[in-house]
Symmetry: C2
């Protein structure tokens, strides 16, 4: 990229390392940033550095947070006897957006994947088992409906069953508003198997 | 976004101000950055601040550069008697990528748009006219093929004609590899009008 001067090329290169940012978007972002007021750019930079420095795992549910305990774990109104197990912090956010779930969470930071060499020891599973020694009535497994998510769900369920704690899995089937015609076969089969009496 | 702790929410908010970055992508970027090694994040931040601080206009062609003169204007091999006029630095880069153009550039930083209230005084047009007092043989107008680009091209051409300097416009027509069936009518008409004898 010697048609751009060095600092512009470097900025484009750094930005194109970001996920989902190709060379074209990186150029667009670079020129956008170069043309912004200095204080805006400084604020972006400070926010990135600040978050990177201070964000850590919640010592209870292992989500990412800037305090020792995340806003959910430190909320006395949440039901600590129900734990929803999710793969990452964004999955937690997806459920929190609905605002209907009143229990707490446990963030695994991944899913078991023999293909990618991710074993049970590579996700926050031991940490979940430790939490189950407290007063827990139900563990809701809300890992993704992918091969890895399902494998992880099966694994966790087998692990918890002997403790006598109720284990459930979020339902899998046709999404609301989904047109049967466009839904894949596995989902259709799953929806059939999981049919509920009316 | 109170399901994320403050610093994470702030980071997502800052990132979603970037062009082409929606809330979902901002979340993805935020968690990516939080999980990167500190030195990578520091380097990104430093590169942004550095570029913002040091990048300015080339005092000759007005492209963005971190030196007084851009790499093209300071290259003695470039033909200073041919000036290609483009709307922005990325358009310059698009032509430089091909590596066939040997002249220099002039970056307008915009195009005349009565709709958006951008007049001839709002783009680097006066600066172009000053350059034309030197030894210039041809001005190639390579503004976009949009309404604004065409208006700007017409305006510049009328301004330069009296000086006796040759003014040309890059060709407009069916893109190479383009399937006639999918090309819009205006382009088809333009291609017909601009037909070349074989």
């Amino acid at each position: 990229m010697d048609y751009y001067s060095r600092q512009i090329s470097e900025l484009i290169e750094e930005l194109s390392k970001l996920p989902g940012v190709g060379n074209k978007s990186a150029q667009r972002l670079a020129f956008y940033l170069i043309n912004r007021p200095m204080e805006d750019v400084q604020k972006l930079s400070d926010t990135i550095i600040g978050a990177r420095k201070n964000v850590r795992y919640c010592k209870q549910c292992w989500t990412l947070t800037d305090q020792e305990l995340c806003p959910i774990c430190s909320n006395p109104k949440r039901d600590r006897t129900t734990i929803m197990v999710v793969e990452d912090t964004r999955d937690l956010a997806a459920y929190e957006k609905i605002g209907k779930y009143e229990g707490v969470y446990h963030v695994l930071h991944g899913a078991i994947s023999p293909m990618l060499g991710v074993g049970p020891g590579d996700i926050k599973l031991k940490e979940l088992m430790v939490r189950l020694q407290g007063d827990v009535r139900e563990v809701i497994i809300a890992t993704n409906s992918s091969l890895e998510g399902e494998t992880t769900a099966m694994y966790i369920s087998k692990l918890i069953k002997p403790t006598g704690i109720k284990v459930s899995r979020i339902a899998s089937g046709v999404p609301v508003g989904g047109d049967l015609e466009y839904i894949d076969e596995v989902t259709l089969l799953r929806a059939l198997e999981g049919r509920v009496e009316l």
